[in-house]
């Protein structure tokens, strides 16, 4: 600990703390612009300067580490003059006429800083030169006129997302933010994660959708969980008048620490499907609006006679985007109470079969955590394209690469991570098993293994030379990759549903064995991460909702789609079903075929829990009030159960531990 004095108050802070952090710890506010808590301090804007006794010049508090006995003054006349001077220069640099800017009025950090310093004008002649506005991006606009060159966007793009699309061209007064080799932003390698817009302090980067829709001052913010995929990123839903304006990453969310991907930030807002606002019942061949009483009675009437029937009873399918509570009620109602043998989820277990197996073999409820990925020095990605799906997990990998983390990608098919990988292995489809054993054999031969292989005799047949014949990957490459993985300190294995021959469990056994061999399985934590599917696919798996969906022969189909979109394959299978009830938020080919449609809340309207890919349980919160006739998924299932005369148990937590009941759920 280091003790120092800030504004006459003595405090103790850990070594390596910056003066800015120390000041904030002791409740002293120092204005900043280029600094951002989640980015490496840059020391560029100079707004945060403070007076340090003994130092000739004012010091930037954001980059200055504390030292013993330091005496700091943050609000002397000299400091205030300096802040004003810095702001004066920034205002004179480009076009900062606030009245024409969409983020003025409380949203602009530059403007707010000026208000704090009681600035009403600036003495320097402003710069009248117009700068470009790059409006080529699908979601964002880059207006160089408002840019203060703080480089937060550049740092966020590199440090947080690992994408490095944004950069700074030229230098000095000519400096300008660019994308790639100075191409239009919309034509660049930008992945539209939008982290830049979230960190931009001014109106230089604005979001097309929410821009010019009023001030940030009168919005509501709701912390929730993104249900775009199984990563489970924390989000902040920004709403006004029951309208969703924007989605920000939640900086305090432990999973994603503020970053989001395009799906979570932008695409979630772009839902153009038609909303169902009242229950519908098919009469004379057409769906007609009905009361909830009529609709529920109709469904209950059709389902009740089918209770207990196997093969010719009810086939029930739930979306894995539904909250845990709904999945639990759904499972109870159809599997436990109505005794149907065909109760499953929309993923049909495809994405979770592997992880269930891994967890079982490891004797633990869930696999490795994403935290592990953030600190890995070697990532082996098998059958998963982290640039395409589960993108935020991909960002953790990409951003670690400049710090020396090695990446090995094993995927027979096109994979956007191939070009970033130190080794991009494309084995013949269906030869993953051989490749994994080849790697193990090479590790054992090189003497780098950290554990005794349990399958030593088997390995003998998988010399890299032999394996190269099967997989099409050269023996030298196999040896090199083996050396790379085995010599790293914190290797992490990420796999997805693309693992070929997924049906054969030995691939996974091999992967587990490989991980064990290189020390990636320690008693307290495993470094194997399966990416799984949608937001609640792990929960669906835990409730046993993971079998292939068969409609043929069943007399009724109940689909709890929520706001999910049915696949063409699913629609095909529904053809010819005698009775279809759909519990959904939007019109879709499935509702068109339905006999009864029960309107439910979409994701932003519901409260509920989600179990992410690493077994972390998180709560999503309602940010919007649903249309009047729309009910919650839980409410619909409960009402249906009541009509069927069935008692449902509400404690979903207990059963969530059932499938692998060894350790408690991480909460």
């Amino acid at each position: 600990m280091v003790s120092l004095t800030i504004d006459d108050v003595k405090i103790e802070v850990p070594e390596g703390t910056t003066v800015l952090q120390a000041a904030r710890m002791s409740g002293v506010e120092i204005p900043t612009l280029c600094d951002y808590p989640h980015l490496t301090p840059y020391g560029g804007c100079r707004l945060c300067v403070v007076e340090v006794e003994g130092a000739r010049l004012l010091q930037p508090s954001c980059t200055l580490p504390v030292s013993k006995g330091m005496v700091v003054h943050t609000n002397t006349a000299r400091v205030r003059e300096a802040r004003k001077f810095v702001l004066t220069l920034l205002f004179s640099e480009r076009n900062h006429f606030c009245m024409y800017c969409q983020v003025s009025g409380g949203d602009c950090e530059l403007q707010n800083a000026a208000y704090e310093q009681d600035m009403t004008h600036w003495p320097f002649q402003p710069n009248w030169d117009p700068y470009l506005v790059d409006a080529s991006h699908q979601h964002l606009v880059l207006d160089h006129n408002r840019c203060i060159l703080c480089r937060r966007c550049v740092r966020a793009c590199g440090e947080l997302v690992g994408n490095f699309t944004l950069g700074v061209k030229d230098r000095g007064p000519e400096s300008i933010i660019i994308a790639d080799l100075d191409v239009p932003w919309g034509e660049s390698t930008c992945v539209s994660c939008g982290t830049c817009v979230q960190v931009c302090p001014t109106g230089a980067i604005i979001d097309r959708r929410s821009a010019y829709l009023g001030h940030e001052a009168d919005v509501e913010r709701t912390r929730s969980v993104c249900i775009g995929c199984s990563v489970g990123c924390g989000v902040e839903l920004i709403t006004r008048d029951n309208r969703l304006l924007r989605i920000d990453g939640d900086w305090d969310a432990p999973v994603n620490e503020g970053i989001l991907c395009q799906i979570g930030r932008f695409l979630a807002l772009d839902d153009e499907r038609e909303r169902i606002v009242t229950p519908l019942v098919r009469r004379n061949g057409t769906l007609k609006a009905a009361t909830w009483e009529d609709a529920l009675d109709y469904v209950a009437g059709r389902l009740k006679p089918l209770a207990g029937k196997k093969g010719d009873g009810i086939a029930a399918l739930a979306s894995t985007r539904l909250p845990v509570e709904s999945l639990y009620l759904f499972k109870q109602l159809f599997a436990d109470k109505l005794n149907s043998e065909m109760v499953t989820s929309i993923e049909e277990g495809v994405t979770t079969a592997l992880s269930g197996k891994v967890a079982q073999e490891l004797g633990r409820p869930f696999e490795g955590s994403l935290e592990r990925l953030k600190s890995a020095d070697c990532v082996v990605a098998i059958g998963v394209d982290l640039a395409e799906n589960h993108q935020v997990a991909g960002f953790f990998v990409k951003r670690a690469l400049p710090n020396g983390t090695k990446l090995v990608v094993i995927d027979p098919y096109d994979n956007q991570l191939h070009e970033l990988a130190h080794y991009a292995l494309q084995p013949q489809a269906g030869t993953d098993y051989e490749l994994l054993l080849g790697l193990m054999s090479a590790i054992v031969k090189s003497g780098l293994s950290r554990d005794e292989p349990t399958n030593l005799s088997e390995l003998a047949g998988y010399d890299p030379q032999v394996v190269s014949q099967v997989t099409g990957i050269s023996a030298d490459t196999i040896r090199a990759v083996a050396r790379l993985i085995a010599s790293s300190q914190r290797p992490v294995f990420v796999y997805g549903k693309g693992v070929t021959r997924a049906s054969s469990p030995e691939v996974l056994s091999a992967l587990i064995e490989l991980a064990r061999l290189v020390g990636a399985l320690t008693p307290d934590q495993s470094a194997i991460i399966g990416t799984k599917g949608q937001a609640n696919s792990l929960a669906a798996y835990m409730y046993g909702l993971d079998k292939p969906f068969e409609v043929d022969g069943h007399q009724a189909v109940y689909l709890a789609l929520g706001d999910d979109e049915p696949s063409r394959r699913l629609i095909k299978r529904l053809k010819g079903a005698p009775f279809i009830a759909v519990q959904a938020s939007y019109l879709s080919p499935a509702t068109e075929m339905a006999d009864v449609v029960l309107p439910v809340e979409m994701w932003a309207e519901q409260d509920g829990y989600y179990l992410n890919l690493a077994g972390k349980l998180q709560k999503a919160h309602r940010a919007l009030v649903p249309p009047q006739e729309v009910r919650s998924n839980v409410g619909v299932l409960k009402a249906l159960a009541a009509r069927l005369g069935v008692e449902l148990e509400a404690d979903w937590r207990k059963s969530l531990k059932k499938r692998a009941p060894i350790n408690p759920v991480v909460e």
Binding site: Y42, R46, L47, L57, L58, F85, L89, E93, P123, G172
Partner: protein, 542 residues
């Protein structure tokens, strides 16, 4: 170069001229001619020597004897006694009462020869820089041999420390202390970097050393490596210095062949090798942390300090960064000892300093003289006086440090401390001598254009401040400025010097501050009267 035996300065300010200085000067030249001394004695009219009561004054070097007031009739005696017989013409000396004030220090310099003392440039222009044998013939690699076979690393650091050698890049940090910091840091590997990114306007001393004596740098870096425990060195050579790069390349090759680089140098078990890294046109890379960023393949933006390169330098490892001229002092110090080095210069700034003399003087060039010489001496002795007999107005002492030294300070000894006391900076040693036709606004506008071009753009004060200052100076020179612009300019001076991240922005303010301090009336004339007193500014927007 013709090294004259005696140098005679004649004060020729308006006051002296009114009292007959012109006649004294002419008489002096005639007498010297008739005495046949014209090859040995140089007569130089200089500006104001101060002490108008005793004008016209004559100062004779090397004895620094001051005579005055001198009449034409005194001249024959003075020439006969002092210049022919070498005796001081006692009766003609200025009375002690007249020796107070600005020129009083002159007597303190009595006995100092107006000749050069070459330590770092000893071999430049003497040896074939592409021939290692020539270097060895002139004591080359002896210091390295001595260090490696007869001294411990601590001995070497102590020797450099005791010598009082201070960095010649501009800041004047004690070299021995820097080496000690690195040697005491317990993190490996360590690096030695030679900062050869010389880009100060008007400075080319390092180029001369690199082009004329490249082996001295190779030798010095190897000694530094031994002292601090580094086995790898980088020479960051300015991209524009193509010839220097070629010569260094050859020198390193030859040194490797003869075992002065590589493994087990001088049989001592010490290994060292040097890479050349070329810059690509960025003045800011002369700043040591920007230089390190540049070697690491990044934009040359200065890092936040602390931590300093001595603990977190290249690739985050302890690193010594020394300027070329600083390093060139190392082998002679190791060879001859610290006390030998202390014989030159002043006690706080021992050794010599290389100055480049440029601008409106008769002879431009580069000299290496002991620390503490004055501007007046440099102009008179080495510059051979002002060109076309013009009057000295100001000197600009090198880009980044950029002080503008008015003629009133030309008698301040040029060493780190005296200059600092006078509120000016010694800088890298460039002396741009300007005559009375130089407009300070025009000159500073050119300087600020340089700073805005070379600003890296990282910090607001420098990125915007240099631009705004240049804008205001331009409007001054065009006659379109208002009085409020002068206030803004002064605000910029304070902000730039107080808030900039690195030396570039901090010192960009210095020349502006200096002209406000020393030439305020001239600056204000551009606004109040809308005229340029020297006629240099076009005042097109008037």
């Amino acid at each position: 170069m013709k090294f004259v035996r005696s140098l005679v300065l004649v004060s020729s300010d308006p006051d002296s001229l009114a009292r007959g200085a012109q006649e004294v000067h002419e008489r002096l030249q005639r007498e010297i001619q008739s005495a046949g001394l014209q090859e040995e004695v140089a007569v130089v009219p200089v500006g104001d020597l101060g002490r108008h009561g005793a004008a016209p004054l004559i100062v004779v070097y090397p004895e620094a004897t001051i005579y005055g007031p001198v009449t034409p009739d005194d001249v024959p005696l003075l020439v006969e006694e002092h210049l022919r017989k070498g005796r001081i013409a006692v009766g003609l000396r200025a009375s002690a009462r007249e020796l107070s004030g600005r020129i009083a220090w002159l007597s303190a310099r009595r006995g100092t020869l107006p000749a050069e003392q070459r330590i770092v440039l000893a071999r430049a222009g003497l040896i074939d820089p592409e021939d290692i044998e020539d270097y060895i013939l002139h004591d080359g690699y002896e210091a390295l041999g001595k260090a490696l076979t007869q001294m411990t690393p601590v001995d070497v650091i102590n020797a450099i420390g005791k010598s009082g050698l201070r960095g010649r890049g501009g800041a004047g940090f004690p070299t021995g202390m820097k080496w000690r910091f690195v040697s005491q840091t317990d993190s490996y590997p360590k690096y030695v970097i030679c900062n050869a990114d010389e880009s100060e306007p008007g400075t080319f001393k390092d180029r001369l050393i690199l082009e004329g004596d490249p082996h001295s740098i190779v030798e010095a870096m190897t000694i530094a490596g031994y002292a601090v425990g580094a086995s790898e060195g980088y020479i960051y050579v300015r991209g524009e210095y193509v010839l220097a790069q070629e010569r260094l390349d050859k020198a390193i090759d030859q040194a490797r062949q003869m075992g002065f680089l590589g493994e087990d140098i001088f049989g001592s078990g010490f290994n060292f090798d040097i890479h050349i890294h070329t810059g690509a046109g960025a003045y800011i890379c002369g700043e040591e942390t920007a230089l390190i960023e540049s070697i690491e393949g990044k934009r040359g933006e200065p890092r936040a300090r602390p931590p300093y390169p001595t603990t977190h330098g290249l690739w985050g490892k302890p690193t010594v960064v020394n300027n070329v001229e600083t390093l060139a002092n190392v082998p002679p110090i190791v060879r001859n000892g610290a006390s030998w080095f202390r014989r030159f210069g002043t006690s706080n700034s021992p050794g010599t300093k290389v100055y480049t003399i440029l601008g409106n003087v008769n002879v431009t060039g580069l000299v290496e003289v002991p620390m503490g010489i004055t501007l007046r001496e440099v102009i008179a002795i080495y510059g051979k006086g002002m060109k076309d007999g013009a009057t000295f107005k100001l000197a600009q002492t090198g880009g980044s440090s950029g002080s503008i030294v008015p003629s009133s300070l030309q008698d301040t000894p040029m060493d780190f401390d005296s200059f600092a006391r006078a509120g000016v900076s010694l800088g890298s040693g460039a002396l741009l001598i300007c005559n009375e036709d130089t407009c300070v606004v025009d000159l500073v506008k050119v300087l600020l254009n340089f700073f805005r071009r070379e600003s890296c753009g990282k910090c607001t004060p420098c990125r915007v401040g240099t631009e705004r200052a240049h804008q205001i100076l331009t409007s001054l020179s065009e006659g379109t400025a208002e009085l409020s612009d002068l206030r803004d300019l002064e605000t910029l001076v304070d902000g730039l010097s107080q808030l900039s991240h690195c030396g570039l922005g901090q010192t960009a303010a210095v020349p502006i501050r200096d002209i406000f301090k020393h030439f305020r009336a001239e600056v204000e004339a551009h606004v109040r009267l809308k005229i340029c007193p020297t006629g240099a500014c076009s005042m097109s927007g008037r």
